[in-house]
Subunit: 341 residues, 3 copies
């Protein structure tokens, strides 16, 4: 029998089972430097130990999306090797900052199953948790993917569709222990705007664009130990293109959003996300945001709920008349950030 | 009003004002490793803790040009976002070695202003200082740039042109505390030549060439948090080319100069510098040096003043008969290094 | 006289001489992160401090091939600058794990010389040892290269061909102090197969392919301070191609071999190796392995002797009817790994 991992097929998942994903990873200054070389990342809290100390933390945490990508990457061999599509995210919450030297591992619980009517595939919902070396959870989120069946005659499981919150409630956001924006230095952070300066419904064009190279997205995707072959093997697709990991686009758009949202320091939650269209090397990625909601979550600390859109096209264009995402739109992400109130 | 940073225009600068630049940055082993992957850097003092300890330091400092790029990068959003040209450098001095874990920030004082006769732009002189987390200055230099006016009818400021030294005097070079070349291991450093072996007027062809890729210069430029869009956005110029950050060429040429100047360990000062012609991906960069001056600055420690030229063409060719830089020349840098006397 | 390093020619080597190679290098978390970004590396022992602690080590060592490349890279200016061909490896043994913060340097002893009958070149055998900052040897291996003569009339040295072991004997493999697989977590390691599950003669197709970019192999090769110009200068070869450092292919193939050999944690020895054909950017590299031998080397710890082949073509094809390597084959490596028995 072959010793290589064929990945799981739809009929291999059991409702309620927990999958311990392989290859724990210690993340450190090297990952941080690479992250800051791969994305135009400038949020001060993740850039400077001195700034983070002033904000009550024990130093600069590793970028929240380093944590997301690392936790996510571990799930790929068990969840998305035979996936046809990454359908959505929900109920994502960052539970504890991760610092250089911490070791991350991931577990996923199967919380939903629904075979498609064609009998060839099905949808799998997993709730994934990232843990550090003390077994403390650092990130938890739900993802659902469409997975092929190995054997179309395998019986369909009972359909269970989990009941997911449309957004994480503001009162469920975790404010990291010690975090305070009382002595916040807006000069060093880069902009003057606090949460009070943003209005619900306001949109921001982040202006800058970045043209993506093959080497960059592969370096990033490997760093997260995401092994899906579509990202690396130019012979895999008939058109010879390598599909860029959707998380690369998330990080790029989030970094670009600094210009207009420089004080949106920490990602607290991911409410929903769609990889609307594929992204390829040569694409020039731009980003725009929309303020969806606001809440005060601790003294002096506000949460802003934002829509972050990555696009090859014009700002503020999202869907066509048919209600579908425009072809230029690559990402539509709904998330909460923490910032000075 | 837009929340994004439009950059400063010529009429926004006031003589004597100090600009605190945004986004302090902790630099560590990750930045070092990336620097050594991006440039063929082999100076032993920055490569080996053991070698640096033998030279009286507390371990290998971060490469002096990591410090330069980081301090410089912070100034870009305030100084060069609307710059038409980077005109020159002067009076650059490295004041204190930076070690892994230090946090750098930058401030610039406006020391000169001169509106151009066309009324459309002007020259701004700034003296920029990089500080570490203890507020100790680590690098100070003067730079002047040509910046567009937002409003051509804005009144011209009083013309003030700062009085700048043509070169940093040898007695003003800072020798890092503890530095000693008494136990210097020339085998491990890579070459036998001490300062005494170089003659003023001597030229050295550094032989090797490096062909630049888009991914490399973008990784580097992002690492220094330099956000100028010409470096990243292939749709920005009509020819679809991304302009390579001039500092990338400085680092590349300096690293190539190891072959013939392996003992020119530390950069002590930048006297002057011209980015003579733009550099693009696909260019094969070569370097040559000329010894301009020598001085003994401490027992056993000499300073060598060097011209470093980066070129796509032949060594030792610099200017045409018209006195202008030849089209192949990309960089003409005048700097001081410290090395065994 | 030129101050640049022309490299050694065949007549510059003396039997028995020891060459101290230049530029010691401190390797740390940054090198690890870059290694994991450049190669799809997932062996848990090098990925996770927590996993390595469970295996009795003081944390995750730096990847064994980081050590190999760093030690090898230092030899390039003295051994292979004028080499026509890298002919082989033998008797390579990893003697001590290297951890973040260690400083590596290399020495080579000339152990064999044989001028070619054409009088234009000769073969040089060197035994290279990598040392850490305590002067403890961490890696030792024999390599032989064909080197050009500067002066064809220089007299031929006495021919001495060293007597080299065809493979490292299992009893000579070094098991790192403290290493134990008693509490080994096969879930976290990624696969269930222990050494007992592999049979001599068994072959494994590692399935995945990676298409190589210029930026990637140059970043890697520079990181190891390997300065051979064929890797960096697109004007050096008439066809404008940059030859990829053979070690880049070794690391890529070894990382790909995770899929089927996830528990083959540590490389203990390199018995032999051939860079069968050159590799260039754009190639899609795949890998397959063959189990050549097995041995128990300590309680619960087995050694597996493996052939690792990197190819652009189909798995398991190695040589043509003429006995020569097929044109698609880039690497044929014979090595020992340590894994749970």
């Amino acid at each position: 029998m072959s010793k290589t991992n064929p990945g799981r097929f739809f009929e291999d998942y059991r409702l309620g089972e927990t999958i311990r994903h392989a290859v724990p990873r210690t993340v450190a200054e090297g990952e941080r430097a690479l992250y800051h070389a791969l994305y135009p990342q400038r949020f001060a809290l993740y850039s400077s130990d001195a700034f983070a100390l002033e904000c009550g933390l024990d130093g600069a945490p590793l970028d929240d999306l380093i944590v997301f990508h690392t936790v996510f990457g571990k799930t790929v061999p068990d969840v998305s090797l035979n996936a046809v599509a990454n359908l959505g995210y929900a109920e994502g919450r960052f539970l504890k900052p991760v610092f250089a030297g911490d070791t991350l591992r991931s577990e996923s619980e199967v919380i939903g199953l629904k075979q498609n009517s064609n009998g060839k595939s099905g949808v799998v919902w997993v709730r994934t948790t990232g843990y550090d070396q003390t077994d403390a959870p650092v990130l938890r989120y739900v993802r659902w993917v469409m997975v092929r069946k190995r054997d179309q005659s395998a019986p369909a499981p009972e359909t269970v569709i989990p009941d997911l919150a449309p957004t994480v409630a503001a009162e469920e956001l975790v404010v990291p222990e010690g975090l305070s924006f009382d002595g916040y230095d807006f000069d060093l952070a880069g902009e003057r705007h606090r949460a009070a300066d943003y209005e619900i419904g306001e949109t921001i064009d982040h202006v800058d664009g970045v043209t993506i190279e093959e080497a960059e997205h592969m370096l990033a995707t490997r760093l997260w130990q995401n092994t899906a072959k579509v990202h690396f093997d130019a012979t895999h697709r008939e058109d010879g293109k390598r599909l860029i990991y959707g998380g690369h686009v998330i990080s790029l758009a989030r970094a670009l959003s600094f210009n207009g949202l420089a004080n949106a320091q920490m990602i607290a939650a991911i409410n929903a996300g769609a990889h609307a269209n594929p992204c390829f090397a040569g694409d020039t990625v731009r980003a725009w945001s929309e303020v969806l909601d606001k809440a005060e979550v601790a003294p002096g600390i506000a949460a802003l709920r934002l829509r972050l859109v990555a696009t090859r096209g014009a700002a503020f264009a999202l869907r066509g008349e048919d209600g579908k995402y425009l072809p230029d739109v690559m990402l539509d992400l709904d998330y909460w950030v923490l910032m000075p109130a």
